[in-house]
């Protein structure tokens, strides 16, 4: 499952006093893990609406007409607000367009930055605890079923092993997090000292220098740990840290920093030594410390690691891993059996849903049966969630409900329509010419719903067939390792406690990362004391604070200047690589897109008009709207008059019958005004919705500005290669 997020056939409208505005009209796209998808378009093209739908923060007057947004086994359009709380900010975060309106004016910056960390920290701890316990319990049960079906002694042993794992795993994480804290502190000490020493040598002191010196003192004390800066030097480090503060306060007045620098270099040497040390294997050490009565043997780290590793393997690990592997095999085997019977049930159920008139009772009974059957196919020990199985029951239910609701509603709508029609006819019969027409009755197509139900079933059957076909190729040894890592990850989530102090430290580091000077001072200020660019950086820092999975950037750099923009984009790119984030990047600036995007979707009037990799879009654009966008922006070599797009986007209360861009399009043909173009496939990755790609269409070249620019780009690259 490489796709993080799938959007299918999304349609969103807004109820306004003038009528229904169709903001998003039937768009679909996927977002893979670690990929950046850019959505480009003018304001009002529905790009922000799409992103807000993903985050579940659409305005109150919005109607989601159809579609699915699938994330982590859930359809985000159908889950409750309670469930959304767990996803929003934590898993999916958003950087908003307007930094003015997304910060609270009466709360200090520091508080706003740490608020999410503190809240989410607690929630994440709880959630990790629940996941860890639940998963271990499932694993335990599967182990017993797989290995010791009728052997109570063996079962007791397995239960004991699982309890053991639980116990020492937390010891391990505790040791490791203490080590990590010190290690990070030591690393930061080295960096910070080098930075400030450079400035002090140049005799430059700024307002934040005192804060930074205090920080260094604090960090160097923090870095004392058995495996980093050894406790033997504790007294000396403490003394140095203490004298550093007083020495710096004195030196600030005289601008003679020799003594301060000497202390700093000494502290740096300690920290450097600590960073260079090798880390022991804490996983094995946790086990040894918990279950062995003897103290740790005194030997070099390499030997110690080997010793501990042997110990844990002999005593516990090999048996546990063996059992876990068998448990995984057992559990997935059982699910596959269930799948086979479920496929039959699903195929049988087709008959029920293909009948002329569906029967409410029968349908609901079948639904219940199918939901239970599909639920039994979900492997509780599988780490990645099977989205289709999870969303099957709610989607089927909503379609069935729609069907039976529509039967009544259709009769009603027809009655209203008939009444209006009679009224109209009466008026016409009187010889008058009314200035209005009778609207078509709003009748839901029952056949379409039936078809949707069948599609849902077929999709699941195909999916199961694929799983069953690949079953023999699964490697359970690898999966077991992944399972143990998964458990470790959750355990570390439980121990990873976010206190106020940690949050503040992290916030200041984040502020530094996003390029805010003197973060210590800024931490205590209010939003109005920041300029626009600075505020945007704060907003970005807040979005990143909770360490999200998917980051939605809604024009994050539109209000910023080039250098800051470049910094912020680099920051987002780095974070993306570090944390394997998926990014949805919404913008109208094509220069930015070229830098960021792996794939680009160009939107116009609520539809995706062109879709492809960034190379496809920039070098082989095919849709006239993309051409227009490309030629309307100046670059450094543009001298001639810019080609602005004439006119304005259409009013989406009355969406045009044909291609929405046709009235502003120089290349429009007759058919553009009459029928909507389908998506034409240009290459495997590149699609465009324009009639120009139809085999019968005349051959049209892109505008001169675009051709010239592509030629210039090629020349520049060629020059560079030489």
């Amino acid at each position: 499952m490489n796709e993080k997020l799938q959007v299918r056939n999304l349609r969103i409208s807004f109820r306004t006093s003038n009528g229904k505005v169709q903001a998003v009209r039937d768009i679909s796209f996927d977002l893979s893990k670690g990929e950046t998808l850019a959505i480009v378009g003018e304001s009002g093209s529905g790009k922000s609406v799409t992103s807000k739908a993903i985050l579940g923060i659409l305005a109150g007057n919005s109607i989601v007409e159809s579609g699915e947004i699938i994330y982590d086994g859930k359809d985000l359009l159908k889950i409750s607000e309670e469930d959304f709380h767990k996803i929003r900010g934590d898993k999916i975060a958003m950087i908003f367009q307007d930094p003015m309106s997304s910060l609270n004016p009466i709360v200090r910056i520091g508080r706003q930055l740490t608020e999410a960390m503190l809240l989410k920290g607690k929630a994440r701890q709880r959630e990790c605890r629940a996941t860890f316990n639940g998963y271990l319990k499932n694993l335990n049960r599967a182990m017993v079923n797989a290995v010791a079906k009728n052997d109570s002694a063996r079962a007791a042993e397995i239960n004991e092993n699982c309890r053991k794992f639980d116990k020492f795993e937390f010891k391990h994480i505790e040791l490791e997090s203490a080590y990590k804290k010190s290690f990070e502190a030591a690393g930061e000490t080295v960096d910070d000292i080098e930075k400030i020493a450079f400035e002090l040598e140049k005799k430059s002191v700024s307002k934040g220098s005192t804060d930074r010196i205090n920080d260094i003192a604090k960090q160097s004390v923090d870095s004392i740990n058995e495996y980093v800066v050894s406790p033997e030097n504790k007294a000396e480090v403490y003394a140095l840290a203490r004298s550093l503060r007083s020495e710096f306060a004195k030196a600030k007045k005289t601008l003679n920093f020799d003594e301060t620098l000497r202390i700093l270099y000494k502290l740096r040497d300690f920290a450097k030594e600590g960073v260079a040390k090798k880390a022991p294997n804490f996983f094995c050490m946790g086990y040894y410390l918990t279950f062995s009565d003897k103290p740790l043997p005194d030997m070099p780290v390499d030997e110690l690691n080997k010793f501990l590793h042997d110990y844990i393997d002999r005593d516990f690990m090999l048996a546990f891993i063996g059992d876990a592997e068998k448990a995984l095999e057992y559990s997935s085997g059982k699910c596959c059996e269930n799948m086979r019977s479920t496929i039959e049930k699903l195929n049988d159920a087709r008959k029920v849903f293909t009948r002329e008139n569906l029967d409410s009772k029968e349908c609901h009974a079948v639904y219940k049966e199918l939901a239970a059957a599909v639920k039994s196919c979900i492997d509780v020990l599988s780490i990645s969630k099977d989205s289709l199985s999870f969303t099957f029951a709610p989607s089927l239910k909503s379609q069935i409900d729609n069907y039976f609701h529509a039967i009544g509603a259709n009769v009603k709508a027809q009655r209203v329509h008939d009444r209006d029609q009679r009224k109209f006819d009466r008026i016409v019969a009187r010889g008058k010419k009314p200035d209005w027409e009778v609207a078509d009755a709003a009748i839901t197509d029952l056949e379409l719903i039936k078809e949707n139900i069948l599609t849902i079933i077929t999709r699941l059957v195909d999916h199961y067939d694929e799983i069953l076909a690949n079953y023999s190729e699964r490697n359970f040894a690898d999966e077991t390792v992944a399972v143990i890592d998964y458990l470790k990850e959750n355990a570390s989530g439980v121990v990873d406690k976010v206190t106020r102090r940690v949050a503040k430290h992290r916030a200041i580091k984040l502020m530094d990362e996003v390029g805010i000077a003197e973060p210590h001072k800024r931490y205590r200020q209010y939003p109005f004391e920041f300029s626009g660019g600075m505020r945007q950086r704060i907003v970005i820092a807040i979005a990143l604070a909770a360490n999200p999975d998917i980051l939605i950037c809604d024009e994050p750099t539109t209000a910023l200047d080039v250098t800051i923009q470049a910094q912020i984009l680099e920051l987002i790119n780095n974070l993306k690589e570090e944390r394997n984030l998926s990014v949805i990047f919404i913008t109208h600036d094509l220069g930015v897109v070229a830098n960021m995007a792996d794939r680009v979707a160009v939107m116009y009037a609520g539809k995706i008009v062109e879709y492809g990799t960034s190379e496809d879009i920039f070098y082989h654009a095919a849709h006239p709207y993309t051409w227009a966008l490309l030629s309307s922006m100046p670059d450094l070599d543009t001298d001639e008059k810019l080609e602005a797009i004439p006119g304005t986007p259409p009013n989406m209360i009355y969406p045009p019958k044909g291609d929405a861009f046709a009235p502003r399009n120089r290349y429009a043909m007759q058919i553009d005004f009459e029928r909507q173009p389908p998506m034409f496939k240009i290459s495997d990755t590149h699609f465009a919705a324009t009639w120009l790609l139809h085999p019968d269409a005349p051959k049209v070249d892109p505008p001169k500005a675009v051709v010239d620019r592509i030629r210039r780009m090629n020349e520049r690259r060629a020059n560079k290669d030489e």
């Binding site: 003018e42 300029s531 200047d561 080039v562 094509l590 670059d635 450094l636 810019l642 602005a644």
Partner: protein
């Protein structure tokens, strides 16, 4: 370019803001001049003082020190530099101290007078001109009806002239087209407001002028009775442009007029400003952070960094041979619509502490080649000259 008349001259402009004990030097010793008919671009990152410079020129702030000279008249002057001179002289105890102080105090007085009364002087001059023009005409007129008409016209003109300010010949276009238009005024009221303040009382004239302006910026007269919220972003910015050009300005200060707009609309507004410039020979001070747009639009460009002007040159020259390290870092950050090139692009980071050593030798703005100024000290100046010598 150099033979043209200088329209605006900014000399050692400083604008400090005081917050408690802390003084923010938003603009610190900036000097440049703008020739008639040219577009002068001012670029720099946010918070570097480019908007403050624009606002100081149009007298939205009282400047701390320096002079702003518009069409040969000093329209704004600050006194801080003279005060500092006095303080310094007292500390150093220079010979003939009292004379020096008296001289400086005289300068302060003059600066204060100019700062306050430049508009009055201008309107007085206008009134005197009118008097010269009309009095002989009225005296010559024999027909009493014609005399009455002339007298009435004369009075009307004097009424207007009294309200005319020199500064109104500088107009500003603001960044945010939503925030800079009053939501409770119709477009007609917004555009005509300046005219009315200046003393235009004839409704027909106002309407006619408003319609003319609307057509000029690509809107239609029917739009006059609508409210700003009924327009799209680009159209709103056009209203802002119409509002500023109705006063017949000589200089327009365009403070990021396109940054808040979509790409396609950006092109429309830039084309509009270009047309207007060709038609009326407008001079524009173009403040922006989008370097591609500035390059496309401006004749000369000044680069600002933390309140200081660090480089000033013709736009082609600046982009071809950037000399100041900050300019280089700025140019390296421009995104281009070219994915392969973009992914290989390396941004140059500018760290003033690492680049310069100003502990002894203070920098100043020096001319390194004709029309190309760079902020540097002696050592850097020599280095730059060597580099240039090698190139040419």
């Amino acid at each position: 370019m150099s033979d043209r008349e200088t329209l605006l001259k900014v000399e050692h402009l400083c604008q400090y803001f005081r917050a408690g004990n802390f003084v923010t030097k938003a603009v610190d010793d900036v000097s440049f001049d703008i020739k008639k008919g040219e577009v002068f671009g001012l670029v720099g990152e946010s918070g570097c003082g480019k908007t403050t410079t624009g606002r100081s020129i149009i007298k939205l702030y009282n400047i701390t020190s320096g002079n702003v000279i518009f069409k040969g008249v000093r329209i704004a002057a600050g006194i801080q530099s003279y005060k500092d001179n006095i303080k310094k002289a007292k500390e150093e105890k220079i010979p003939n101290l009292s004379e020096y102080i008296a001289e400086q105090k005289k300068l302060i007085k003059e600066a204060k007078y100019d700062q306050k009364n430049c508009d009055k002087e201008y309107s007085k001059k206008r009134v005197a001109e009118l008097k010269e023009k009309y009095e002989p005409l009225i005296a010559k007129a024999s027909d009493p009806a014609e005399k009455d008409k002339l007298t009435k016209e004369y009075k009307e003109e004097v009424y207007k002239a009294r309200r005319t300010k020199l500064v109104t010949q500088i107009q500003m276009i603001f960044q945010d087209p939503i925030a800079s238009l009053d939501p409770r005024m119709t477009v007609r009221e917004i555009i005509a407001e300046g005219l009315i303040i200046q003393g235009e009382r004839n409704k027909n004239v106002i309407d006619q002028k408003v319609y003319e302006m609307l057509e000029l910026v690509g809107l239609v007269p029917e739009h006059a009775s609508r409210y700003p919220h009924e327009f799209s972003g680009g159209q709103r910015q056009r209203i802002g442009v119409a509002r500023s050009i109705i006063m017949n300005p000589e200089l327009i200060i365009a403070d990021e007029p396109v940054s808040a707009l979509d790409v396609s609309v950006q092109a429309q507004v830039i084309n509009l400003l270009n047309d207007l410039r060709d038609r009326f020979g407008l001079t524009i001070l173009f403040i922006a952070h989008d370097l591609s747009v500035v390059k496309y639009f401006s004749d000369r460009i000044g680069v600002m960094y933390y309140g200081k002007l660090v480089e000033l040159a013709d736009s082609d020259e600046l982009f071809a041979h950037p000399l100041h390290p900050y300019t280089r870092s700025l140019l390296s950050a421009i995104p281009l619509p070219d994915p392969i090139y973009e992914k290989a692009r390396k941004r140059i980071v500018y760290n003033p502490l690492a680049e310069h050593d100003y502990s002894v030798d203070k920098p100043s703005l020096r001319e390194v080649s004709p029309g190309h100024f760079v902020q540097c000290n002696d050592a850097e100046y020599e280095k730059i000259m060597q580099e240039l010598g090698g190139n040419h």
